[in-house]
């Protein structure tokens, strides 16, 4: 495209945290300007198999989730941190990139930095890259999520000193040891906020014979979810469909029950952290033992998760400030430094 470079002059550089649950966009020089759920609602006018139109994106689409009539389908185009539906991801990105560019004079053609899970395969990275290019990006850079999370949390990543980050996102949890602007060790498990929700749904179905939706499960997790037993358990009343009777029923669930539900998912995250500590070179391991583990991502907001990991590993563990936006802010900082650091942080695709 001849005009791509010219259009690029009038576009802002973006850093996109394309997460399973939420997409955040950081605009160079402006900060985080967009934080919306990664959900697309598709309208099929002539029944299934007919032409598809994007009906809503983001928050508007999330409100439709699980409440749609036959001709509308809500899609979460990302699963486990990677693209599950290529076209929908492209539509999502296109919509968001347009949204952050107020100028309608030229079609935006920004340089885009996208955060990818560290364990994503070459094929998955290529898919993300192509989808961003399809959405109008003129150049796409990839940065691994734990790296962005560490920068965003304020860890001095350029020092020759090990630091451990645990990023618990919507679809994946990533643990990484960082030193000298690079990942020394990284590992990711496909357990995150979504799996917590599923675990709660399953628990309620098994123990109460009641079916609850994803949104309700998420609300339970946010309000009373915890990872360390409470001395005074909290409780919450939710309604779902009773499987035996087939009618809506109210049930009361306590925080300790939620803990029981989350047990399995939490132990696989713990397992990943322990493996990381085992695999880390001894010099860095001693650094990590001194400085501790920083938690980022939405999962860091789960009550008592720092306590759980601290007790299990024997290291100081603490959540970062504003953990939900760490990756986006870190991507933003990397973006601001992009022209100076010559791509120190960028991952190969």
């Amino acid at each position: 495209m001849v005009f791509k470079r010219l259009r690029g002059l009038f576009s802002n550089d973006l850093s996109i945290d394309l997460g399973t649950a939420n997409t955040l966009i950081y605009v160079r020089g402006q900060g985080i300007v967009l934080n919306q759920p990664s959900v697309v609602a598709v309208r099929m006018d002539r029944g299934p198999g007919g032409p598809q139109h994007v009906a809503a994106v983001g928050l508007a689409a999330k409100q439709m989730l699980g409440r749609t009539p036959g001709n509308i389908r809500t899609v979460r185009p990302l699963k486990d941190g990677v693209i599950a539906d290529f076209n929908m991801t492209e539509a999502l990105l296109q919509h968001f990139i347009r949204e952050v560019h107020t100028s309608r004079f030229l079609r935006p053609s920004p340089r885009v930095l996208v955060c990818v899970p560290c364990s994503s395969t070459q094929v998955e990275r290529k898919a993300i890259k192509e989808s961003a290019e399809g959405a109008g990006a003129r150049e796409v850079f990839l940065v691994e999520e734990p790296m962005a999370a560490a920068i965003g949390a304020g860890i001095p990543v350029h020092e020759a000193r090990g630091a451990m980050v645990l990023d618990i996102g919507g679809g994946t949890s990533e643990v990484a040891v960082i030193s000298l602007n690079g990942l020394v060790y990284s590992n990711s498990v496909r357990v995150g906020g979504d799996q917590f929700d599923d675990a709660i749904i399953n628990y309620v179905r098994r123990n109460y014979g009641t079916l609850i939706g994803e949104t309700t499960a998420e609300r339970i997790k946010i309000q009373i979810g915890c990872a360390w037993p409470d001395e005074e358990p909290e409780s919450m009343e939710v309604s779902g469909r009773n499987l035996a009777e087939g009618v809506p029923r109210n049930i009361t669930i306590t925080s300790n029950e939620v803990l029981e539900a989350l047990n399995e998912s939490l132990s696989s995250i713990l397992e990943a952290v322990k493996t990381a500590l085992e695999q880390t070179p001894p010099e860095l391991c001693s650094d990590v033992a001194e400085t501790g583990i920083v938690l980022t991502g939405g999962g860091a907001l789960l009550r008592g998760i720092d306590r759980l990991i601290a007790e299990e590993t024997g290291l100081p563990v603490f959540p970062a400030d504003d953990p939900l936006t760490c990756v986006a802010r870190g991507g933003g900082k990397a973006l601001e430094m992009m022209d100076q650091n010559n791509g120190d942080f960028f991952a190969s695709s």
Binding site: G154, P156, H158, T291, V294, F318, N341
Partner: protein, 290 residues
């Protein structure tokens, strides 16, 4: 002591030191139990926290407080004052900046080029519009003057008359007409001087009135545009049925009447026949002095 804390928000370091001393713990023992380095604990208690990155510092303080059993509500008011190091994102190796300053110039240049292009187009457009409207009104005046001047020129040099119908001639006429106003002006200045010398009513030409009276009577709604030789817009309006208006101006008049069949036009008491100038009930004409 509780009262004192409520009055003045204490620094988290002081609260933690007091709590530790109340429990009779040494720094070393507290460090062992809370898994935080003794040097860090000392720094927190003394408030010398400039070297510890904020993300760690806040975590250490909260963890230490939890270990000592201090309620987080007591610490939070003072947490805002705790300042740690805010590490910058740095490159390990020094590199040349990739983005050259040329890009900034390119951006400025393209802005300039775009605005220059728009300005040129706008100027050309308005200029053309002005020329077009001027050409329209002076065209008839031009031809009128030309016919006279042509006749004189013909008499002098015997050059055959040029066809005044062609577009080229029309535009030449309009250009000539624009260049000409000086001549009649100088003539009229001379005339006036002569008139002043010879007294009133001596001149034959005094009988020709300078301004002509036009009057329009309409029997139906019609759009009327009248411009006089000086380019003055005498009328530009929709005249309602049954209205009658009078105008004074310099001939030739440039007249456009939207519904010629419903209009009676009168100049200096003579009715003007609009039929020869009407096409599709719209009359366009240049009304000469009679």
């Amino acid at each position: 002591m509780t009262n004192q804390r409520e009055l003045i928000p204490m620094r988290p370091g002081d609260i933690l030191r007091l709590a530790r001393q109340q429990q009779g713990l040494t720094i070393e023992r507290a460090s062992e139990r809370s898994r935080i380095k003794p040097s860090v604990l000392e720094a927190i208690e003394s408030g010398q926290t400039d070297k510890i990155p904020s993300v760690y510092l806040r975590g250490y303080i909260r963890n230490y407080a939890r270990y000592l059993g201090v309620e987080s509500a007591e610490l939070e008011p003072g947490m805002g004052a705790v300042k740690g190091a805010d590490p910058q994102v740095k490159s390990i190796f020094t590199v040349k900046p990739r983005r050259s300053s040329g890009e900034k110039w390119l951006k400025a240049t393209s802005y300039l080029a775009a605005s220059a292009l728009i300005a040129t187009l706008a100027w050309q457009f308005t200029h053309e519009a002005v020329r077009f409207s001027q050409g329209d009104s002076t065209l008839s005046a031009g031809t009128a003057v030309r016919t006279e001047s042509d006749k004189q020129a013909q008499e002098k040099s015997g050059i055959p008359p040029r066809s005044a119908n062609t577009h080229l001639n029309a535009s030449i006429a309009s250009v000539e007409a624009r260049g000409r106003p000086d001549e009649p002006a100088s003539v009229s200045v001379a005339e006036q001087a002569w008139r002043a010398v010879s007294g009133p009513n001596n001149d034959d030409t005094a009988g020709v009135p300078d301004s002509y009276a036009l009057s329009i009577t309409t029997s139906a709604d019609t759009w009327v545009e009248i411009t006089d030789a000086a380019g003055k817009q005498l009328e530009l309006d929709l005249l309602r049925a049954g209205s009658s208006r009078d105008y004074d101006g310099q001939p030739p008049f440039d007249i456009m009447i939207g519904r010629a069949s419903a209009v009676v036009l009168n100049m200096n008491g003579d009715d003007i026949d609009l039929v020869p100038h009407t096409r599709g009930n719209v009359a366009r004409m240049s009304l000469q002095a009679q």
